[in-house]
């Protein structure tokens, strides 16, 4: 029987002898993740059902990252539920403000997720860890409560769409552009309920941070997961910077069944911008040069990693942010924050007139640290541009990679990095 990498990982987490798309399975999980928005409901449900013990205090991660450092009293109360639960059940991987980071950047960085793992997270962007060759998917708070109790999750084995990226990327084009282009091609429900497997020479050549950005947005095409076969790039990542993840390196079999195979010639893919109000509304950046912006946000679980800030700094060095623009830069983790200071990137951002903030999901979901007023427009390296996502229902969000967001901050309108 020939299997895809996704099918192999799922099979390895059940007691079954074989597996097929469409089948319901009850699978063992390697890590269950919750944040300050979703974990409070899970914890309330955990307690309401009379559960006394978590399945494994080492296999739960609680990350208060959305409305933290607490933006108001209500958010502080929500975060407190995580803290108290973590103390009570001696949860090993609880990350307080100051050691915290945006969950999907933090967990890989801490070596808590690796190739071959099965991870569930009560956050839709949990699909990020597929970049390491893991099966990783977003679930709800009730699933999380059940995971806390049983260490298992019910899943329907997904069909897989194979995406093959041939050729070499143009200058400034990265993983974010590939995924925006792909979502633009297949639509926001183009991969509904399915696994998205990213392959091809352009993927092989992609650095880890870009792979994270791609798998992160699988959900924006309706996907259950995004996944990239682990290789030397993966191996180097999971065994560097103090991480010592072993992992199981699965590969899709020759002859594995795919519901569809879609090929792209990346030589032809331009820098992408997704216009309001859907991530699938993506076009080459040149289409938007007349769009004035009020804010540029560089950060989030999609593009808040060190290489994103290196790219932004290359463009912003010695330049000034347009007088009518707020540039808000949010490193995704404490470590990235510290690294950006060490490399002099923070200094470049501050001298350019930008804000350099402590880690938080912040404005991405209209939480805090940069909410838009009515009629305002932002360019953001985040993952969603739904109506009202970053603030007022009559504000607009354009999605891009960090190079475009940085260039746009200088120009005061959506701009190509070559214009700087």
């Amino acid at each position: 029987m020939a299997y895809t990498i996704t099918e192999k990982i799922l099979l390895a987490h059940t007691d079954k002898k074989s597996i097929a798309p469409g089948e319901f399975i009850y699978a063992k999980i390697d890590l269950a993740l919750g944040n300050d928005i979703t974990a409070p409901i899970a914890i309330q449900e955990f307690e309401a059902v009379g559960a006394k013990k978590v399945f494994d205090r080492r296999k739960i991660a609680l990350v208060p990252d959305h409305f933290t450092p607490a933006k108001d009293k209500k958010s502080a109360e929500q975060a407190k539920i995580l803290k108290n639960f973590s103390r009570k059940h001696k949860i090993v991987n609880y990350f307080e403000v100051g050691r915290m980071g945006v969950e999907h950047a933090l967990l890989p960085e801490m070596g808590l997720v690796g190739p071959g793992d099965l991870i569930i997270g009560a956050d839709s962007h949990t699909c990020t860890y597929g970049a390491l060759g893991a099966f990783s998917t977003g679930i709800g708070s009730t699933d999380l409560a059940a995971g806390f109790i049983t260490g298992c999750v019910w899943l329907k084995v997904p069909e897989t769409i194979k995406f093959v990226y041939n050729g070499k990327l143009k200058a400034w084009v990265g993983g974010k552009d590939l995924i925006l282009h792909t979502i633009g091609d297949i639509g926001v429900d183009g991969a509904l309920y399915m696994a998205m497997e990213f392959q091809g020479e352009a993927i092989k050549a992609l650095p880890m941070d870009d792979r994270f950005a791609m798998c992160n947005m699988a959900i924006e095409a309706g996907g259950k997961s995004g996944i990239i076969e682990p290789d030397e790039v993966t191996k180097k990542y999971i065994r560097s910077e103090g991480r010592n993840v072993k992992g199981v390196f699965y590969k899709s079999d020759v002859g594995a069944k795919y519901s569809k195979v879609i090929e792209y010639d990346v030589n032809k893919i331009e820098l992408q911008v997704s216009a309001p109000h859907l991530p699938s509304n993506s076009w080459p950046v040149s289409k938007f040069r007349k769009i004035n912006i009020d804010q540029s946000v560089i950060g989030s679980c999609t593009n808040g990693r060190i290489s994103d800030f290196r790219i932004a700094a290359r463009i912003l060095k010695g330049k000034k942010v347009s007088s009518r623009v707020r540039l808000i830069i949010i490193p995704a983790t404490q470590k990235i924050y510290s690294q950006a200071i060490k490399e002099g990137l923070a200094d470049i951002f501050l001298k350019a007139g930008g804000v350099f903030s402590t880690p938080s999901c912040g404005p991405c979901l209209g939480g805090h640290l940069g909410i838009l007023a009515s009629g305002e427009k932002a360019i953001a390296t985040t993952n969603r541009n739904f109506r009202g996502r970053m603030g007022h229902p009559d504000s607009e969000v354009y999605l891009s990679n960090p190079a475009v967001a940085a260039a746009s901050a200088i120009k005061g309108r959506i701009a190509h990095p070559e214009e700087i």
Binding site: F67, L192, G367, R384
Partner: protein, 167 residues
Amino acid sequence: MKFKGKVWKFRDDVNTDEIIPARYLSTTDPKELGDHCMEDIDPQFSKKISRGDIIVAGKNFGCGSSREHAQISIKGAGISCVIAESFARIFLRNAINMGLPILEIKDISGIKEGDYLEVDLNSGSVLNLTEHKEYKAKPLPKFIQEIIRSGGLLKWIRKRGMARCAR
């Protein structure tokens, strides 16, 4: 389970930020979340509807975030069930896990806002009482029916025995 209620119609790709905007996620209170249900699409929505009313939407209903505040908000507003041409996957599983009745029917174009529907969850029959038409919902897989019959995921787990798991 049977429901009767007035139809409120929505387009394709209604996302969770529209069902309940993130600015209200610092609470889990059903009444408070219900008061803001669909606010950014229609600020008056929660005031206009009556208990038992039905949401009918196009494709990919509930795309976006994993927030169960969306289901809590819809239930809190008094909506009895949601019918759509398709559901986004996390929304679908949350609805099943939390016991919010949902049904998929192939084509909703024959149902108008204000029509009265009678929904039989067991048989999957959707009767349009205004238009005198019947629609058949896609039957739910057995495994999912079992969770729903148990009254949600946690009750299903309790029934199986919490200590006993597949592990």
